[in-house]
């Protein structure tokens, strides 16, 4: 959506012909009816092979073989369904490909999507709501199972219209990696609050070493620094959005950015690009990295076994822990036939079930989307305790607000970070500027 698009959308909605709107409603009802009918057909009697395609960005490291394996298992259980994986190198390309494929009228059956992408897709009627499938008696999810999905993950499946449009897949959130040897040597405790973090960070900053490196991100590509800032806003008692509009310059946000500016000024915080946090931590130059739990293998590789790297939850603020969810959900594109939709739903549900999500978590470092996976992972968690820490944070973690304009808002927040941390700007001023631009993009 362009900043201007929103305005026109609203005026369009007002003048839209009555019969057109009603026909959409009728169409939706028919489609819903057809869905539930097809759902029975697909599970009960369908003999013909149903082909579905999944556009995803799980191409690196252990992600690819693990998803391949899960998909094979699914196909073994559902001999009439064939799943084609279309792997893209990263989320940027994935998003461009999905957009291009929708524009060309040939989207895959399902695809990974962030909340704000899904919002844009739903606006364009390019994806379908999943509420019908989730509530379906035959192939849905029981209330008991639903309660087991982490709170943050569950809330993340809805668009503002109150319907479920996404189903969780690869979820992660932010944790604090730290060099335990360094802290022990300096006689410092692992910080639990942001106030303690600043004290410890400054105490560690001497003789060519510092506490933490991060990447502010840019307008076009927000990075870890941007996301940690978002987590801090929640911890400090602020909001990202309110009433469907961005709120980037709450007092909490100004305080958080001021806090980071102070760290930067003291030399405890350094700014870089291309995952500077893990690089500095691994090189033994800094003591902390605040990053996603999915980056654990990379953090480990960077440290090279030189010191004991440990993981703790993000520090808390006066509002407790704030955290930001990373990773995506899966959506079903509306071009799919009813049989394909039903098959796709079964596949998506399969991936989120305890056994599979546990396997996925153990293999890739992402988090299980449901609590029921934790007992299955007992042995793994014994050797990888950080997984449990991060998984519990999924209760408080928040995903991208489900609005298409959030891409711009997040980018503007990154710009504010650059203005303040790299170029000495004033936090309140920088955030006000970011808020104004985000607001324009949100059409308000």
């Amino acid at each position: 959506m362009t900043p201007f698009a929103q305005n026109h959308h609203n005026s369009r909605e007002g003048t839209m012909h009555w019969h057109r709107r009603s026909s959409i409603v009728v169409g939706a009802l028919l489609a819903a009816a057809a869905c539930s009918y097809a759902a029975y057909g697909a599970t009960a009697s369908s003999r013909a092979t149903i082909n579905i395609s999944f556009m995803e960005a799980m191409a690196s490291g252990t992600q690819k073989p693990s998803l391949d394996l899960l998909t094979k298992r699914f196909e073994a259980q559902h001999p009439n369904i064939k799943v084609t994986l279309i792997a893209e190198p990263n989320y940027g390309v994935l998003q461009q490909k999905e957009q291009a494929a929708i524009a060309a009228g040939k989207p895959p059956t399902i695809g990974q999507a962030y909340e704000n992408w899904a919002a844009g897709y739903a606006d364009a009627k390019a994806i379908i709501p999943l509420t019908g499938y989730v509530n379906s008696k035959k192939m849905g999810v029981t209330t008991a199972d639903r309660k087991q999905i982490w709170k943050g993950v569950w809330q993340d499946l809805f668009l503002p219209d109150g319907k479920i449009w996404m189903w969780p897949f690869n979820k992660s959130d932010y944790v604090m990696y730290y060099n335990a040897d360094k802290l022990a040597k300096a006689g410092l405790q692992v910080p639990k609050t942001w106030v303690q973090f600043a004290t410890v960070a400054k105490a560690l900053t001497k003789s060519g070493n510092w506490a933490w490196s991060t990447d502010t991100g840019t307008l076009a590509a927000p990075a870890d620094g941007t996301i940690v800032m978002l987590a801090m806003i929640h911890a400090f008692g602020g909001t990202w959005i309110a009433n469907g509009k961005p709120t980037l310059n709450t007092p909490a946000a100004i305080k958080a950015l001021g806090y980071l500016a102070d760290l930067k000024k003291s030399g405890a915080l350094q700014i870089g690009t291309n995952y500077p946090g893990e690089t500095a931590l691994g090189a033994g130059r800094s003591a902390f990295d605040l990053s996603t739990i999915a980056g654990y293998p990379y953090e480990l590789a960077a440290d090279g076994g030189k010191f004991s790297m440990k993981v703790a939850a993000l520090p808390t603020g006066r509002n407790g822990e704030g955290n930001a969810m990373a990773g995506t959900n899966i959506v079903i594109f509306s071009k799919a036939s009813n049989a394909e939709r039903a098959a796709a739903w079964q596949y998506m549900k399969f991936l989120s079930e305890p056994r599979q999500t546990a396997y996925w978590a153990e293999a890739t470092g992402y988090l299980p989307v449901t609590k029921t996976a934790l007992p299955i992972m007992k042995r793994y968690i014994a050797t990888h305790p950080y997984q449990q820490i991060a998984a519990h944070s999924l209760d408080v973690a928040r995903g991208n607000p489900p609005y298409a304009w959030w891409t711009v808002a997040e980018g503007q927040l990154a710009t504010a970070l650059q203005a303040v941390l790299d170029n000495g700007g004033d936090p309140a001023h920088a955030l006000a500027a970011a808020q104004a631009k985000a607001m324009a993009a949100a059409g308000g």
């Binding site: 201007f4 606006d123 090189a283 790299d422």
Partner: protein, 309 residues
């Protein structure tokens, strides 16, 4: 085979003298042009006209039936967008430096390397090689060299006890760093073109100038440069067009940052079209960018033509 051979060698005995098609006959010109025109038509001109069309809409890429005609709204929005004007300034900075650098250094290096010798041959290889390496691979290498904590450049500064610079993080230094990389990568091309041009400069005239006791500087200014006008114009036009559209190195090195310091109009176009998916607005930027490039090219050709007359 030289031209003389071709002419002197008896061709297949001359037949069909009457009624045959002359070499310069234009009746099949369109046929000869058609392969190129079909490719251009399908993959460039057609899509470009489509872009022109959607620039007049609030375009919904995902569902074109939801698009609304807004006339010149996107263009008006562009005119009042601070980001756009900022990108124009960044483009002028980038293009100006890259074009000037490519021309001056390209010519300078070509002059240095035009004579024979082992050293020069090796150096020539060194200068031309970057041009043959993928932009993605080598720009990421430079990101590493520019790294503020462990990069080569800052390590050298630190060893000299000079203040270290966050090259790609600083609004002051990011653009020079990207320009430096671009010159490093692309100078090979201009050097080849200038070496080629230099080979055609009359050696007699240069000798004569030297016998007259002209200093090297004067020899270059009075004898070499005037004969290279064509080549110089060619280099300026090509590098202007290329650098106005430069994208990959900005994408990998700075993502347009910090604070839009390296967001040229070419990168803004990418950002609006492919990060924010403001399709209509992005289309309007493309149309304006096209007009700017066309204007520049015409201007340069006009200037060079009036010069050579």
């Amino acid at each position: 085979m030289t031209a003389v051979d071709a002419v002197v060698r008896p061709q297949r005995s001359s037949r069909r003298r009457a009624g045959r098609i002359g070499i310069r006959d234009g009746r099949f010109a369109l046929l000869y042009l058609s392969p190129a025109l079909i490719v251009f038509g399908v993959f460039t001109i057609g899509p470009a006209l489509f872009v022109l069309y959607i620039s007049l809409f609030d375009w919904n890429l995902l569902n074109s039936s939801l698009s609304t005609f807004t006339g010149l709204h996107n263009y008006r929005a562009l005119g009042s967008s601070a980001d756009f004007w900022h990108s124009i300034v960044a483009s002028v900075y980038f293009v100006g430096c890259v074009v000037a650098g490519s021309t001056v250094f390209g010519l300078g290096i070509a002059l240095l390397l035009s004579s024979r010798g082992l050293v020069r041959r090796v150096v020539r290889l060194a200068v031309l090689t970057p041009y043959f390496t993928p932009l993605v691979a080598t720009s990421i290498v430079w990101v590493w060299i520019f790294n503020p904590q462990y990069g080569l450049l800052d390590s050298l500064l630190r060893m000299l006890h000079l203040p270290m610079v966050g090259w790609l993080q600083s609004t002051t230094w990011a653009m020079p760093a990207v320009i430096f990389y671009t010159l490093w990568h692309d100078l090979g091309f201009t050097v080849i073109i200038f070496l080629a041009g230099l080979a055609t400069v009359s050696t007699d005239l240069r000798e004569a100038a030297r016998v007259d006791g002209a200093r090297y500087r004067h020899e270059i200014r009075d004898v070499v440069l005037p004969q290279l006008t064509q080549t110089i114009v060619f280099v300026i036009v090509i590098t202007t067009i290329d650098s106005l559209q430069a994208f990959t190195q900005i994408y990998t090195m700075t993502q347009g940052g910090p604070l839009q310091a390296t967001t040229t109009t070419g990168f803004l176009l990418y950002q609006e079209s492919f990060v924010f998916f403001h399709t209509g607005f992005g289309a309007a930027i493309a149309v304006v960018l096209f007009a700017v490039i066309a204007l520049f090219t015409l201007l340069q050709l006009r200037v060079s033509r009036s010069r050579s007359q």
